[in-house]
Subunit: 374 residues, 2 copies
């Protein structure tokens, strides 16, 4: 693999397209703690201002006034952050920002005046007029909740010193949807669990559907959820899962972070044990699975994102097992491809409307180019 | 591909295994006329001796006597040919000979005294006590019926000068099964027809099931048959088909040869036209199909013979279309792999009983080793 460290060429560049969108760096390129199993950590706070109605009850012009107000507050607090008004961006640009996790799918699709402020390194973003007046988000590669907790609390306090947060002494922070009321905190960790659902030749590996269901039931009892990262179903494309808290009321932020952290650690060590025994017992099958994924990624001329995701998952597994040489391909490169191959990114780079067929072709070209020297 | 010319290392060597079997060279390594579409030509004559009963009516000891008699006749006629008695060979050795087309499946499995004589170059073999007393076979790479006709007639006359062929002035040569009576001649040509059944992503390419059925109906009216080479079904693994005559009565050998030749030429030019237009209209899909086949063959750690055949078929198509570089991989190499990867050959090389799982592993190793330099 050529230049596995710097994947910047994979991505739409800041300049050149002639519009105002400036994309941040890709923080996922730096593998974080426990990166063999944990892809990334995210914390989010939902906040609303006392002096404005909730979004569902906005009066005439209130939404626009709030957006202007908050954009000014954020600009004064974080002058280095970039601020974009959503309606000034094209649908493709909004899609790219969604694929970078800077904004939610809903924020990309909404029609009301709204915006987003984000740091140059892409690890902090603040949505204005999403479901709540403010949605603060911080990201880290790997498992890094303690640090994220400090970062988001600092940000929260600094913003809170400039605006009046809507707060109920008994319930905590008031939110647009009651499921967030209290801490307004969502802690999510994305995990790569290939052995959990590893299947070769139609045979079940060590993990099984039952393991997932068991894990989900255990999580639920702790006020947490485990779900496939690409959809709500229990079967995750590419074997990526998200563990997050479901409860925001009657539990402190510290307890919430601790709960997620402890389930993640439990699942991670379970996954590590499984990887070892699974590989030892099915060495040929695992090698076959991983080399075929590598082969398809480096040779195909068309590839859907579902297939690519599944192969990239196998590559990640192969690097962690030492089957693939980390000097040739590293986790950062795989991580970068997972973002760069998404439809919005492909479309943004091509700077033109693309059919699904054409996207499959460009995706194959992009991946082949990144993984091969020729 | 390393040494695409000389594939001898792929095959069990003559010496070393300590037994008596001596395998001939692989004549398929030399591409013959029309090799872009035609893999090989074969002619076979069924002959019986007047002085012995048909196989189904052998008296006590007659079968053994006939085998001894014919082995002597053949030895005197062709002293350079190798002669093997079937019961002196192991089941694996017989399987290897079947996979080399030297003997039929029935001849490999039979229990009666029987044998086979074959030339060093493997292009001629004579089975003794197969369904008929004598089965003369000659092979050529590509489409080469005229030459084969000369070779087999010469052999037929020379044997006929030493024994009394059972011949009926009205019907012709008498045979064990009436479907061969008359000329006793079977002319078969193996074709590679990828566009006939080319399917990508579940979509039908130019060819279709209907084309095959149409071709089969046309052939039948000419007293010919078209069938998948690996089974009687109309869908051929790997898109290999065989055209052969069905009628042996009331038609001269020359007419039979001419009939097969003319249908083969018709189908070949149809296939060539289809290849061009199919490739032009589906360039990406075809390239994707071929590169994925190459990728799987050069990376997999386990592979069934069905999958390998299908990929090798795609490789062959890719070489003919110029997508794959003929300096890197040529038709001869593909042809050799098609034989070397078969179960009997794998087992013979390993010199031990192999499970299907283990064969899949050795097959993948063999193919990967042959197609890659590393």
């Amino acid at each position: 693999m050529s230049g596995s460290g710097d994947q910047s060429s994979l991505f739409p560049s800041d300049s050149g397209s002639g519009d105002s969108l400036q994309l941040p760096e890709l923080w996922l390129q730096e593998p974080g703690p426990e990166s063999d199993v944990v892809i990334s950590s995210r914390m989010r706070l939902a906040r609303n201002l006392d002096d404005f109605h909730f979004k569902s009850r906005f009066q005439e012009g209130e939404c626009e006034r709030l957006e202007v107000h908050l954009s000014q507050v954020l600009h004064e607090l974080e002058p280095d952050f970039r601020y974009h008004r959503m309606h000034e961006l094209s649908p493709t640009e909004r899609k790219v920002m969604f694929e970078r996790h800077l904004i939610s799918r809903e924020h990309a699709a909404d029609e009301l005046p709204r915006g987003v402020s984000f740091s140059h390194d892409g690890t902090t973003s603040i949505m204005v007029n999403e479901e709540d007046h403010l949605r603060l988000q911080v990201f880290a590669s790997g498992l890094d909740l303690e640090r994220l907790d400090e970062v988001i609390n600092d940000l929260d306090h600094r913003i809170g010193s400039q605006v009046n947060y809507s707060f109920d002494p008994r319930f905590g922070y008031r939110t647009s949807c009651p499921t967030n009321t209290g801490t307004g905190l969502r802690v999510s960790v994305m995990l790569h669990l290939p052995t959990l659902s590893f299947r070769v030749d139609g045979r079940t590996g060590r993990g099984s559907e039952q393991d997932i269901v068991r894990m989900q039931n255990a999580a639920q009892q702790l006020g947490l959820t485990v779900r496939g990262i690409f959809g709500e179903s229990s079967r995750a494309d590419g074997e990526f899962y998200q563990i997050s808290n479901q409860v925001t009321l009657g539990r402190t932020p510290a307890e919430t972070v601790k709960g997620v952290q402890s389930l993640v650690e439990h699942v991670s060590s379970w996954e590590r044990r499984n990887r070892d025994s699974h590989f030892n017992e099915n060495r040929r099958r695992v090698e076959d699975h991983i080399w075929r994924a590598w082969a398809a990624l480096t040779h195909a001329r068309r590839m859907t994102s579902g297939e690519a995701l599944s192969h990239l998952s196998a590559l990640r597994f192969g690097v962690c097992l030492g089957i693939l040489d980390e000097d040739e391909i590293d986790l950062a490169a795989i991580q970068s491809l997972m973002v760069a191959m998404r439809p919005g990114h492909l479309q943004y780079t091509a700077d033109t409307e693309l059919t699904a067929d054409r996207r499959d072709e460009l995706r194959a070209d992009l991946i082949r180019g990144a993984l091969q020297n020729n």
